[in-house]
Amino acid sequence: MLEIKNLHANIEGTPIIKGLNLTVPDGEIHAIMGPNGAGKSTLAQIIAGHSDYEVTEGEVILDGVSLLGTEPEDRAAAGLFLGFQYPVEIPGVTNFSFLKTALNSQRKQQGQDEIDSVDFFTDLKKNMAILEMDPSFRGRFVNVGFSGGEKKRNEILQLLTLMPKMAILDETDSGLDIDALRVVSKGVNSMRSPDRSCLVITHYQRLLDYIVPDVVHVLVDGKIVQSGDKTLASKLEKSGYTELQA
């Protein structure tokens, strides 16, 4: 369960998050929608531990453990995952070695043995099949020369490899065509379980037709201003955010 209590955060002195409260219980999918500049991506980065943001007040708690002040790698090992809006290219590091190193680093931190190589490879093949990714992507450098859609599929491949307790997906739908959206959603839905939860950040209702949320929140000017069931998303699609910003 992810709990965010009265979170305040700045970037270079400018307040972006202004008293945000949010709880995502185990097994649920929540969506955050909101206008440009509301602080959606900032919230995602803060939870994952980006050093550019300064948290001035509040708490972020994952399964009873406070995340603020810990390193990004510790948060990952605690079961947190962030799907990047703009996945980073890493020349010289293959996808295969990246995924295996990430998984084993987390396992080590959790006191587990390294994964068996055969098991790892079997899982990888299975997950790539779910995401309809060509096997050649295993040996390619991380995100280098990938199209926008391929980068997003690769994010979901990491999600399926690492199987986090709490996944935050930051605008995973941006830049995806309908087919890619369907595939990416299939990947996310394949990891749903009673002890995993997910926070989906999006501009559009479209994604939420595929990944159906239990709760939809509206983030405006650094705060959650409204929460409701999945029908809220379609209402927003019609009415826009203007009313809520007033």
Partner: protein, 429 residues
């Protein structure tokens, strides 16, 4: 202030072999020593006031009164076994500049002669003495080294490994090493010079490489000096037509090092590739001065030096490419790429292109950057600890320097040394 003659007297005093040498030495050795002495008396040591030494002050070497070791070495197999090279067909070991027969190994190979200079081998008759500085000191005082001759149309499959080790002693010990590698027409070989320097040692080495028509040499320098070691080297490669010189230098030690690499492309359709990698830390200093002299037309040269510079270390790269008037249709490409890990690290890099021919293709490029902070963050968000993420990114940056290394065993050795060194660099951040 010590005069040049006093420096020489001091070297002569410390150098027993030199005292006995001149009378019973071969004429080429005598001539080279005399020429070396004359040039050094004229030039003396270089200092940072010389343009070529502007960023590399050799004061730590020039202010020391070095002694020599002519003693039989007491070094045992266990002390050097870690420096042996798997896949070497011949391994010649020198301790403090002196040949060590007991530790050397290798059966005779068809088509090649390889022996220490002390065996009085003949060398190419057109060796040109150096024109001053450390190289002249080497001409004057070389103790030993290796003479390799590969006969025409002979291809040597394995690695020829020349290992130069300096040992800890109470006094500050210098060794002067001279190597000759001569490949006949159509001959091919791989030669690795590795240098293991200890504290308070100074190694001054010079290698004369000669490639006849159609010959191919893969030449490596692996430098592994400790913190208080000093290394100065010069390699001069003369290439005849259709020959290929493939140079790989790896600066994976911790000490002070300066290398001059000069390639003369004297015949048409020659090819040379110069590759260099340095990983520096603390107060280390590594200076690479390279010079590619396009004398003949239709030659191709490629050069890529790369490195990760950390701590308060300083790296110098000076890449001169000279394209003479006759060298039409020259195709030359040079690049130097650096990552600075700390604020106090420094890199002075300078391409130096001098082009007198008009129908040529010459490119050069230099980059100095930091590690990609976004990439580092991305790896950490996936659960990879900072130190490991750093090592992954620096490794990814440098590993292309292994692409051109033909022998797998050599590649594996470098790979292990690089990863060890990068772990060290990451620790101190």
């Amino acid at each position: 202030m010590t005069t040049n003659n006093e420096i020489i007297s001091n070297y002569k005093r410390g150098h027993l072999l030199y005292g006995q040498g001149p009378n019973n030495e071969l004429p080429w050795k005598k001539a080279l020593r005399v020429a070396g002495l004359e040039s050094f008396v004229e030039s003396g040591y270089p200092s940072h006031k010389d343009e070529a030494w502007r960023y590399s002050n050799p004061k730590r070497i020039t202010s020391t009164s070095w002694s020599h070791s002519d003693a039989e070495s007491s070094v045992t197999e266990t002390e050097i076994v870690q420096h042996r090279l798997e896949g070497a067909v011949t391994e010649l070991v020198f301790i403090d500049g002196n040949f060590c027969d007991d530790l050397s190994r290798g059966a005779s190979i068809a088509g090649i002669t390889i022996e220490p200079i002390s065996k009085n081998s003949e060398v190419p008759s057109d060796i040109v003495p150096s024109s001053g500085g450390f190289a002249s000191l080497n001409d004057a005082f070389f103790q030993n080294g290796v003479v390799i001759n590969v006969l025409e149309n002979h291809e040597i499959d394995g690695i020829i490994h020349l290992m130069f080790v300096s040992t800890d002693s109470d006094s500050e010990t210098a060794s002067h090493i001279k190597n000759f590698v001569t490949l006949g027409e159509g001959a091919a070989a791989t030669v690795v010079e590795s240098y293991v320097g200890c504290n308070n040692s100074f190694c001054n080495t010079k290698s004369h490489l000669t490639l006849a028509k159609g010959a191919a040499l893969e030449h490596h320098i692996l430098e592994l000096g400790s913190k208080e070691s000093h290394w100065v080297g010069e390699t001069i490669c003369n290439q005849d037509r259709d020959s290929a010189y493939d140079s790989h230098t790896f600066w994976l030690g911790e000490g002070w090092a300066r290398n001059n690499l000069v390639v003369k492309m004297n015949g048409v359709e020659g090819f040379c590739n110069l590759s260099g990698l340095y990983l520096t830390d603390n107060r280390q200093h590594v200076d690479n001065h390279t010079e590619i002299d396009h004398v003949a037309p239709h030659c191709t040269s490629r050069e890529l030096y790369k490195g990760v510079v950390s701590g308060k270390s300083r790296v110098v790269f000076n890449g001169r490419v000279l394209v003479r008037r006759e060298a039409q249709r020259t195709d030359s490409d040079q690049a130097n790429h650096n990552i600075l890990l700390t604020r106090d690290a420094e890199i002075d890099t300078k391409p130096e292109l001098e082009i007198y021919a008009d129908d040529v293709k010459c490119a050069h490029g230099t980059t100095i950057g930091q590690l990609d902070a976004q990439a580092l963050h991305y790896l950490r968000v996936r659960g990879i600890p900072k130190a490991m993420a750093l090592e992954m990114l620096t490794t990814a940056f440098v590993m292309e320097q292994l692409d051109g290394v033909e022998h797998e065993s050599l590649k594996a050795r470098y790979s292990a040394l690089i990863s060890e060194r990068l772990t060290e660099l990451g620790k101190s951040l």
